[in-house]
Each structure stands twice: as C-alpha cells, then as structure tokens.
Symmetry: D2
Subunit: 462 residues, 4 copies
C-alpha cells in the first residue's frame, strides 16, 4: 500500500506523502546529494524510532509532583544516542554560518527536515538535538561566545549532555518590546549582579538545565535604546535563582522542561560570563530571530500534517458510523479535509520561499517573507488541528491523542516572539513603502492615457 | 523612486515589485535566458503600452445598442500589431506540446507572464493574442484539427485576424457535468446537423468571431458516457445560428465580445467540420483543462496584485483624510493590506508549484495541484479586490476604477469550469485515498509503541 | 402546502415563513392590532401585487440611452395608486414623531414591514412610497421645513407625485466626514448661490425628481465645525444644475433614478429655500441617520431572505442534477443554507432590538445598537446572497435573477453613510468606555479574593 | 463610575452592563416582578460572593494525586449554604413543568440568570445548585422517577447534599447516535445487571457523587430503535463500578468532578432502580435536551461576556505599552473588541428567542431555534475568548486567568450532545422542507408575472 502512485526514483519524502509533488518539483534541484540523503535518514528515523517512542515518553513522565521535575524519561536519552550515532545531530546549525560546528545544509534543506521532526512535536526535534530553546542558545554561543564560554557551555550543549534556558520574557510588563525590559544587570568588581523577575522561561524546570542565558538592562539610561541591554550566562545552580512555579499552557505544564516563573535575586556570576560585551544584548537577540522562526514554522507545519493524517484515519474508522454514515461520507468533512490540505500546502510554500530567500541573500533580506510565515503558519496549523480535533470528538481534546497538546503549544506562537497583530502591521507597513513608486507609475500611466484620449478627442471623466 | 531596494542584476519583474524575492528565488533558476528576456518584454509592454491604453479602449466601446456589438475598439488592433511585431505573440502555446506553432516556454515560464498580462484584465491578454476563449480553441485546433481545419481556422486565429467562441454550456441543465449535454449533433449525408440551446458563449457577440467550436451529443445512447459527445466547427455566419442576447455578469455585458445565449436550429455544416472523429468530444475538452486553468489562475493573481497596488495608492491619497487621519494610518487598513499580501503570495506559490509540476510530469500528474489552484485563487483574488473596493468607497464599485468589473469577472471563476464545491470535494477525496496507507503506518507505529510500553511494564490506555 | 406547520391564529408573517416563531414570540406582544393588520396587508400586497410586477418593471425600463432617463415604467405608478388606495402608504413616517402626517406605527412595527417590502428590492419599497432618498427627505421637510416649504415640497412627495434627491456626497474628497464638505453656499441679497461638485446623488436622474435637498458650507470659518453647514432646497430645473453622468454600481446604472454626478454652478434659489436656518445643516442630517438606518437594515434582511428562498428552490430543482446528485443532496450546500439561516435570524434580532430600543428611548439612546446593525447586516446579507448566487451558477450573476443586482446594491451599504471600518471603531470605542468601571469592579473582586486567600493562609500568584 | 449612563429605575442587569438596553427592551415586559427581583439577587450574589471566591476555590483543590479526588474545596459548600439561605437555589427547575419542586420562572427568565451564573464558570453555577450534570439528572428524576426514587435521590440532590453523574457516552463507538450504545442492561430475577464501558462521565470522580444515572441497551433486538434503551439508577459505591481514570480536556482534569472513564462490570442493582420502565431510555434523554441546551448556551454567553470584560481591562492596562502605544490604541484591537460585542449580542438574542419560544409553545416547537443556538453560541464564545487570550499574551493561556480553561471547556460544546456538523445539517434540512411551498409561491408569482408581460406585449427571457 502506498501514498498515491510512487514512481521509481521518488525521494522518500514524496513516497511517504510528506510533501506535494508540486512543491518538491520547485525545490528538488536546490538539494545537494548530501542533503537528500540526510533527509531520507530523518524521514526514516522519525517513522521508525521517534514516533513509536512517543507514548512511552509520555508514560515515563512522573505524575507525582514530588518527582515530576526531577526525572527525565530515559527513552529520550536513548533516542538521542541513536540519532547522534547516525549523524542525525545538530542539523539546525548551518556550516555556512558556523563553519566550526555546523552541518553543510542550507536553510531550505534544513527547513524541510525540520518539518519532519515537527511531526513528533517537541519530543520529535529533541531526539535530533534540534529543539528550542537549545538551538537558539547554541547559535548565540557559537556566534558570540568566546572560547572559554564555548568550551564550558556550547560543547556540552552540542553533545546533548546538558540543556539550557533563555531568560528574556518578564512578568508585569510587555517584554516583547525589548526596551521595556526591567531586569537589572550591574557590575560589582569582578562580578555581575542580576536582579529581575522573569517568567515563561522554557526549560528552566528541567533537571538537565545547567545554563540560563539571561537578557537584562545594564545601561538603562543609554540614549541609544538598543545599547541598554546585555546578555549574561548564569549557571542554573547559582544562588539567588528562584524557580517559582511552572506556568501552564492551557492545562499543560510541559514537564520536565516547563515554562517557569523565575526570580533572580542578587544572583552573582563572574565578569567572564558576559556575552560579547556590555550593550550587545539587543544585537544578539536580533540574530536569533530569522532562521529560528523558519524552523518553528516548519515544525508547526509538520504538526499540522500529522494532525491531518490523523484526521484521515479517524474519518475512515469504520467503528465510528453515525446515523448510517461513516464520517468520510459527509460532504462537510471532505471539504474540511480539502481546506486543511490547501492551507498547509500554501503555508509550506511560503515558508520554503522565505528559507530559499535566506539562502540567496540573508535573514535581513528575507525579513518580509519570514514575517509573513510567522503570521500565516500558526493560524493555518491551528485551524487544521482544530478540524482534526472536531472529527475526533471528545477523544480529540483528551490525552489520548496529541492533538490538544499540539493545539495548546501552537497557540503560543500567535503571540510569542511578537504577537500576530504586530507582525501584521509590519507587513502592511512594508507594503505601504511601495506607495510612492506606485504613485509615480500610476501618474505616468494616467498621463499617457490622457494623451491618447485627447488625441482621440475623448474627454475623460477621471 | 523604486519598489524597495533594487539591486544590480535584478530582473525587471523583481525591480518592478511584481513578485516577491522569495518566490523568485525559488523559480529563477528554472527560467531559460529566452524566457527571462521575454518576461522583461512582457513587463515593459504591459506597463508602457497596454495599461496606458485601457481607458481609451473602454471609451471606444459604443454605448449605442445599435452599434455596440458591431464595432471593435481600434486601439486593441493597434496594440496587437505592436505586440506581434515585438514577438510578444501567442506565448501561451507551448513549443513542447505544439512544436509547429508553439513558443519555447515552459508552463512555469509562461505562467509568470500570464500574471503580468492579467494586470490589464481581459484586454491585457488580448493584446498578446493570449485571451480566452481563443487560447483554448487554438490548442484544440493545433492538437486535434486536421490540416485543412488548421489552415482555415487555426492560422487566422494565430494571426489574430479572427476570433472564436467555444459553445459548451447549455441553458436549463447543469452542463458542468458533460454527460448532461443535450445539444443534438447528427449526420445527414455529407452534412452534420446541429440543434441545441446554449448560453454563456463567450465571444459570440464579437463581430470578429468567425468560428463556433461546439460540443454536443452525437451518440446519446452510447454505453460509455464519455463517448457520447462530439465537437464540430461551425462558421459563425451559418444559417440557423441565433444569437439571442448577451448575458450580463453583474451589470456588465462585456461588449463587444459578450457571453451570449445562442440557439442552434438545424444548423448544417459539412462532415469535414467534425473534429478528430465521432465520440471524441469528451477527450478533447479534457485536454483543454489543465494548463488553461493555470493561466486563468495567474491572470487572476495579476488582477489581484493590480487591485492591491491601487489600494496602496488610494490609502495614501492625502486628499482622502477622514476625522483627521489618512486611510493608511488606520490599523485595520494596514492589516487588510497585509492580509491581501499574504493571500496573494501564498496563492501564487501554489499555482507556480502546479505549473512546475506540469513541466516535470504532465497536466494529469498535476491535477491535484491544479485543482487546488482553481479553488484557492479566485476566492483569494476576490477578497483582495473587495478590500481594495472598500478602501475606495463609492468610487471602488463604479466605472471609475476597474475594480468592480474585475470582481464581477473573477466571481464567475468560482463556478465556471466546475463550481468550487465540486473541486473541493475532489481534493478532499484525493486526500482520503491516502487513508489506507496511513492506517498501515499508524498500525505499525502503534504496534511498535505497544511493544515498548510492554517491555517497560506500562499499560497503555489507548 | 405550507411553510412548516401553520397553526390556527398564526399571523400571516409566520404562516408565510417570513419570520421565525422564536423572533415573533419576542415581539408579537409589542404590536398593536392596527400594526398587525397593516403587516398582514403589506405581506399580501407584496406577494400578490409587487413581486409579480417586478419583471414587467425591468422590461419597461428603456434600453435606449436616448430615452432611458426620460421615461418611468408605468407599472410602478399603477402599483403606487393601488397601495395608496389600500392605505399602505407612507408607513415609514411615524405618527409619534410627525403627528401631522405620520402613521401610528412604532419603529419596531414598521421595521418588520420594511423587511417585507425589501423582498422586492428598491422597487418593492417604492410601491409603498417608502423608498430612499424620498423617505429621509420627507422626514427632513416634515421636521424642519416651514409651512411654505412643506406645502410646496412635502405634500407632493407624500402624495407620491414627485420624487427628490439628497445632495451631500462630494467628488474628490472624503465627504463621509461632513467637515470635509466643500460645496459653497452663500447669500447674495435675497438669493442663495450654490457652487459645488457632488456625485452619487441618488434619484437625480429620474424625470420625476423635482427637488434637490443640498448640503453645503455656508460658514466655513465657523469655529464650531458643526455650524458651518446649511441645507438648501433647490428645484431640479434651476439653471446651473448640470447632471454630468450616472455613476455605475458594478455595471448597473439603476435607471431611471440613477446615482448621478452633479455640478452646481452658480445655482440661485430664493432665500426662502433655506431649511431651518443658517448653520443648521449638521443638526439636520444627524436626525436623518437613526431610524433610517434601521429601515435600510430591515430591507436588506428582506433581500437576504428572498435570496435564501431562491436558493432553496434552486437546489431542489430536479433538472439541475450533477454527477448523479441534486444540489440539495450535497452536505456542503445544506451547511451553506444553515449558515445563511443562522446569520439572517441573528441579524434580524439585532436590528429588532435596536428598533425596540428606539421606541423605548430615542435614536440617540439606541446609537450603539443601530451602529452594530449597520455593520452586521450588510455583511451578513452579502454572504447569504453570495451563497445563493453560487448555487445558481452562471444564472446567479446574470440578469435572469435579481441576485447580482441585489448584491451590488447591498455592497454599497458597507461604505455608504460611513464605512464599516469607521463604525467598527466606534463600537469598539464605546465598549472601551466601560473599562474604567470594569477596573473598579475587578479591583473590588480581587481585593475580596485576596482577603479570603489570606484568611485561608494561601499565597496568591496573581 | 458606571457602565455608561445609568438611569433611575434601571434594572441591575442593565446598570451593571450585563445586557444591552436593546435586548432588555425586547424582554423586560416578559419578566414577572418575582423574576426581576430574583435576577437582581443573582447579579449581586455573583458579584459579591461567587466571583471573589473563585481563586480560593482553585487554590483549595489538592495538587497531590493521592488526595486530589478525595477532597472538595470547602468554599463551594459555604457558598451553596449562603445561596440556599437567600432562596437562590434550584432556579433551573421550572414550576410550570415541575410543580412540586420547581421555581416560578419561565425559561426566558431563568435563561438570563443562567448567563450571569455562567460568568463564574462551572463553579459559578454550582454555587446556585444549578450545574450540570445534576440539573439534567434532577429533571429526569422529577419527571420520570417514582416516589421512592425521588425520596432517595432527588431530595438530596435538590438539597445539594449529594452530586450525581450521567453515564451515556461510550468508548470505542460514536455514541452521540444513541442507537450505537452497547452497554448491556439485563434483568436477572429481582436484579438488573449492567455491563459496559463508558467514558467522559462528568462528576464521576467527585467524592460527593452518590448516583450514576446510566443509559444502556436492555432490548437490542427491538425493531423500534428507540425502544431498545433503558435507564437505571446505580449507587456510586455499587461493586463492579471501576473509575479507570479522569479524561483530560486540553490538559485539565477538572478535579474534583472530573470526566471519567468508567467500566461497569456485572454491576447489580435492584429492579426498583429502573427509571420509568423498560425501553423508556430514549424518551427520557430526549426530554433532557431542549431547555438544558438553552441553559448551556446562556452560561457560555456569560463566559464570553466575562472574557470580553477581561479583555477591556487588559487592553487599558497602562503597564502593557508596546512600541509607545497602549493596546487599546491599536485599531485592530478595537475592531476585535467590536466584533466580540456584535457576536455576543447577536448570539444572546438568538438564544433568548429560543427560550421565549419554549415558553410560548414547548421545547419541540422550539427545536429549530434551540438547534441554531447550539451551533452559534459555542463558536461565537470561543472566538470571543480567543481574542481575549490573544490580547493577554502568554498570561491568557496560563493558569493566571480563567480564559484558557474556559476555552477548553467551551470547546467540548462543539461536539458534545451532537457535533456542530450534525446540527448544521439538521438546520439546513429543516430549511429545505420549505422548498415545496416556495416552489408553489414562486410558480404563482411567475405565472402572474407572465400574464402581465404578455398583456404588455413583452416576451420574457426567463
């Protein structure tokens, strides 16, 4: 049995029905042989190793509050070892930008792989050591960390031995605007002292988390609003760090990683823990945004595809007939499936065009396309998942399918890293920059048109 | 002044802001040098010649019912001559499929050009001799016509000397299902006699229309429902053809071409006017569908882009301030612009992936992607145009902008050639074909998962 | 045959299926016996006289540009005479507010009748002498006109002997903001001189139009922006009035009434033609807005109901089977019908609640509900009609059903009298005025809550 | 400070901004003095007692799995005592239908109260002893229970001393179609033996739950599909009842009540525990549906209003400025608020019209309006809450606001008690029943029209 007609020479991603032939026809010739082979391996590893371990992973998370945040499901570490052994490791880190530690994959190539790993949710990408917030943190350390910092923190992260947190979001203020940040960073002798109140610090609950990369204000009076911030490396066991509680996303606490409220009270680290230099905070987080967003988007598309697959099996489940009809015999269900397919295919192409654009120029040149992806994908994915939930009835929102948890996780992407509303305004304003040139063009055309009308003795009403 | 940062070496289509850099980065390397040059010429000709002539064309259409259907605006024939002289002619006809008369352009390459010509509406593509229904008719004649038929009808059509109509849709029945066709075609001696009642026959009102390509039933009792139909060539001046009236689209009659109600009463043509053979009708119209739909879609995207451009100039028109604000200062207007941009960019990529797929395999292999384009594009384009109309207020729905006419024209695409509802069901059903393989995969994964749970001594609730 | 179960004693509006029993159960006891009887008559007259005359009315409009604006279809005058004879006349004019000329109907009572007349489109309400812009103009004259003005203009309007135009909208500016108005009104001796450039002046093309009620600026420097405007009565045959052209709505010119571009060049009228006094213009147009909008909304709902009725007959038309199924057997069609029903029923209730509110207090107290109706109804009606068009295929957008013309007419309501965007902002801002009281309430509740938590020895995280 | 202009004599529900003046103007005269007074008390009790206790209730739920399902937050019992003392108790039970135990309130009157209690979520209605599934269970016992059953189960439920569960939904099948039910009920001597596998049994986890009202099949072979089912009363401590696990709704387990998977294995009860008689199951559950759905809908509207209130305070929170603007200064936020307001007001009116209809006839006569409410309200409420979440950013989906939990709870209403899709088809099909009468009417009108055209010598194209 197969997914439509498989033809000899079809790549695994097509044969498994993971991408439309049309989309693949646009990008295939942009893939190196190395990338094609890696992609095959990612597909196989996800299907053969990752997905069959997902339920066990859930089962191994302790339900007892006393141990819930102190244990890590053993199966994830086993998977990581297998993936590392197969060379399916740190694929997110581009050799072009990080020649020392990176993998020779373009953004476009990795983007397609990220979608596959996204089929297994957060767990699916962690198996490849490609999960947030570690990915962005490794990029920061690889790009801005000095040799000592890299040795101490980057290497164990690259090895998957430790995990990390990124402490930016603050409670009580709108910290998506970095100029609002209030956490105080100041030098005292050879030490840096940190005081602040953060929350939604992903990974801070994990017993493997050994590092907080924290952003705060070191020079709040600096006239240049983008030089007020600095970034500091804080070992997770430093005195003064108080993990107050895990925040919940809908009813999920996402143990053992969690998204924690964390208070930093007179936390002291050596001066050597400053990243890049005083005032470099804003610059550093800007670098985190572009490709990372693309990866997030592609993983979300993977989650949406997985939900659609699940919807297809559900509606063809012959035990679920109502009023004499199987679900797939209802025209509205069929239409819902079609809508999901059309939304996913369009969203994927948009993200791939952004990834391709990054490869051609750079993240900055692709900001518009990245911004559009950031807006389009979460909403599309949420709608796809919501339809899948609806087709499942009560089961769809329960712990018996991954749908509700996926929905909850993706829902956060509509405000994380800037809410939809802000990005939509930016996209619109970017369009508006074309207005002046359009006026020129329109005036030129109207001028020509009026000449023609005059020559023909016709009076225009315009 | 320019459309964002133009970089040295940018293709005209990028420099003019006609496509996103991301989309262009995906397809640029699939364009031949020939195609790139032609594309530049199409862009320039559209901007320099076609668009400045649009208002004159409208003005030259007679408002007097006595002459409205007897005159053709002279400017269109002048434009056609210019375009022909520059080799911007019959670009729709692919050399690969029509080696004798075609142009060496792939579907993807021509698709991008079709979008540009679509910025000028129907008039915009007629200037290049690339407008429906002539394009499909020329394809039919080039593929299925015999030498005599080609000499008599195809050559003058290719030369832009005559125009033609395609008579398929019938009154009183649902003729989108070709098996419902009732027009009777029968042989009497050396003649074919046609009796039927058609409507929405585009172009039948045009004084240049010299040919009706008609589909009817020649063998209504044939057990094979797809061998009942035949196609016949009927000179437009044959006795018995009665053009009853032009149908209106919203309030437009689209003179001088029109979409006419036509009664065929004992219309007689020589046997030689049969195309391909008895019973070949269904096969012939199937061949018309694939690439033609792609072109329709791309022209619609061109119309949507033109509407968005117009919206951008409108909302930055400083004379139109209300309550102290220019329109572009309203957040909801900016959001509407952003939404239009995101819809257009996604829809274009979807159509381009379908076009690329046709180039890689054939129209049949791309049916799914074509079907999705057919559904996605008209709705997206209508929404974009509707937002542009709304930003224009009363002017937007009047004769003073092309928006309302574009809306009306595009609205027909939601049912022409099969209503959205039918295509959506087909897309959904195609997805459902994956269900069996998905069940297999899911069962395999569940089986593996259960083994793992068992080995770990855990009882699954699933 | 009937519309569901008719029960003895059911009012005609229920028996004819024109309103849901639920909605009727909410308002029935607010109807006087007089109103119930009138409502029955309006239902009967619409079904028995108006609707059967609609096609004849269309046919009687001249297609010849030479006479198109000089003739009035005789059938409408015959209908008006019949309606007047039956006392179905000027029902819009409330006796409560206009004791001299009005009918003893509340807003709520008339609103329900307006819906019924709206089933026949503009023609449907003209038959009852209840069509715009005459209705608003009669209200202006009845409220603000002096005896002389009423005798000369109001009486023939009330008698349906003449028609009138309301000249407010101006070309080249955003005149929905009345402070932008540029038409100049100035006194010269005993005369008033008017200069200005208006467009979209409904009814100005009609040969029966004898009066332009014009708004312009008589005191552009007045510090009070709402005292700059005045309103003047101008006989339609006054020298200097130049009807430039009819504007089109989509392709419709709505002859013989039209929506015309009109230039006023040194138009002179006696000082006695000033309405109410200098500077009263803004106050006067404010009074036009409230109940008039409600009537517009109800007529739009009538148009939507008629479209849904038509959709129901179309999808059950047994001649229109495709692929072996009648249209009504498609689940998505059934769902579209249900959505239309739900939208209409909700929109109607909203408008009725606004009408009831006007009756309880006044238009000002009901501004919020009127504003919501103004936004909700046109969009709902357009969606309902669009679905009906789609179910009709090509016929639905042609001259063979009233659907496309209804769509075009209703589309204007999304910007006329203030675009949706402006009204939506007003509704939102009105909600925001509740914020301060909500903060107070929330603080009170939180304070109480904290006391309780403290007493229980629990520390809140909020 | 107040909610808009409060006028002397305004009812509390208007003064507190809980309903629009327009809606109130439609229904006020249908309220008895008793109902008006009760409504005031419900408003005050909710604001003064229920809402300030909500956080304490949450805090009093044990987080320890060992005790989570064994304790009930004391505060709810305190609240219940207070409410009972004030006569705010069992308001849901209509005296008209349940003369012995009911309260003299119409459906319309109670519906408005239900909305208020819904502002506090499930907790908010439990305080008044008006929460599901007890309400429906009490109705079943009051209507169908014999004296003994009422004494044993109904009285303690009415007193709020015990709670109950309704065991209908089954695992592995689509039990929303009651004919699919598989739980086996059979008589053995003087006993009834029950075997089945249920899930989503709300309240079954609660230590106060003393009764399962279970529906199963007692006569699976009965030719009448609606006589196969019976309903049995099962004490919660009967041997053989196995509460397997609480199901989760988006990560929430809703302790201490829970929605549990329950296996009934050879559960035995006396024959006296049969309700009404063998085969009466289907009839009994039908009776549960009508008014209960209305109450659900109104509570959902209350939840939506509470979310909108919260959105209003959030967007005016001056600490949450981004990029120099407070949230309420963004046009798109204002538009979102307006959309929420318009959706809520329309949905409420729809439900009120259904409630009024029940009062005029009965639930059966109001089935159409109830069905529409069932579809419209959850979707509207979810959209309103989603916008409120979005305005809150991360906080909105966390445990720090009730929004995410409300969203999760309301999401279940889109499939519970029949999925949206099924209800939409029913509404559409009910509309289609009008088609025959519409054809008759249309034919009559067309016939008249043709006569008129003929008389005028005009040929119709229709």
């Amino acid at each position: 049995m197969s997914f439509g007609k498989v033809r000899p020479g079809d790549h695994a991603i097509v044969a498994e029905g993971f991408i439309s032939r049309g989309a693949w026809s646009l990008i295939e010739d942009k893939f190196s042989d190395f990338a094609k082979a890696k992609l095959t391996d990612v597909v196989r590893f996800t299907l053969d190793e990752v997905l069959p371990a997902a339920e066990l992973y859930e089962a191994q998370i302790s339900k007892d509050p006393a141990t819930r945040w102190k244990q890590v499901p053993p199966v994830i570490e086993e998977l990581k070892n297998k993936a590392k052994a197969k060379g399916l490791w740190n694929l997110f880190l581009s050799k072009k930008h990080y020649p020392k530690h990176g993998t020779p994959l373009t953004n476009l190539e990795y983007a397609v792989m990220a979608e596959i790993t996204g089929r297994g949710g957060h767990f699916g990408s962690e198996a490849f050591n490609c999960s947030a917030p570690d990915t962005g943190n490794m990029e920061v350390l690889a790009k801005y960390g000095n040799e000592e910092q890299q040795k101490k923190w980057l290497m164990p992260l690259l090895n998957g031995e430790i995990r990390s947190a990124f402490a930016m979001t603050e409670r009580f203020i709108a910290s998506s605007d970095a100029t609002n940040i209030r956490t105080d960073i100041r030098q005292e002798g050879n030490e840096i002292v940190i005081n602040g109140h953060k929350w939604w610090i992903s990974g801070a609950g994990d017993p493997r988390c050994k590092l907080h990369i924290l952003m705060g204000k070191s020079d709040a009076q600096n006239a240049n609003q983008h030089r007020q911030q600095s970034i500091v490396l804080i070992p997770a066991d430093t005195p003064g760090i108080k993990v107050v509680r895990p925040m919940q996303v809908f009813g999920y606490d996402d143990a053992p990683e969690g998204h924690c409220e964390v208070i930093y009270e007179n936390v002291r680290v050596p001066l050597a823990n400053l990243v890049k230099g005083w005032g470099a905070g804003f610059e550093i987080i800007q670098g985190r945004l572009g490709p990372g967003r693309i990866h997030h988007c592609m993983r979300s598309i993977g989650a949406a595809e997985a939900a659609l697959d699940r919807m297809l099996t559900r509606v063809t489940d012959t035990r679920k007939r109502t009023f004499g009809k199987a679900l797939y015999e209802h025209g509205t269900i069929v239409a819902d499936i079609a809508r999901s397919r059309m939304q996913i295919d369009q969203a994927r192409l948009l993200v791939l065009s952004a990834a391709s654009m990054i490869d051609k120029s750079d993240a900055k040149g692709a900001m518009r396309d990245i911004g559009m992806s950031k807006v389009v994908v979460p909403t599309a994915a949420l709608e796809v998942i919501d339809r899948a939930m609806q087709a499942h009835g009560a089961e769809g929102i329960s712990q018996d399918t991954p749908l509700a948890a996926a929905y909850a996780g993706l829902r956060t992407l509509r405000y994380a890293d800037g809410p939809d509303e802000v990005h939509i305004q930016q996209i619109g304003k970017q369009e508006l920059r074309r207005a002046e040139a359009l006026w020129e063009r329109q005036n030129r055309i109207t001028g020509e048109s009026e000449k023609k009308l005059k020559a023909a003795g016709i009076r225009s009403h315009l």
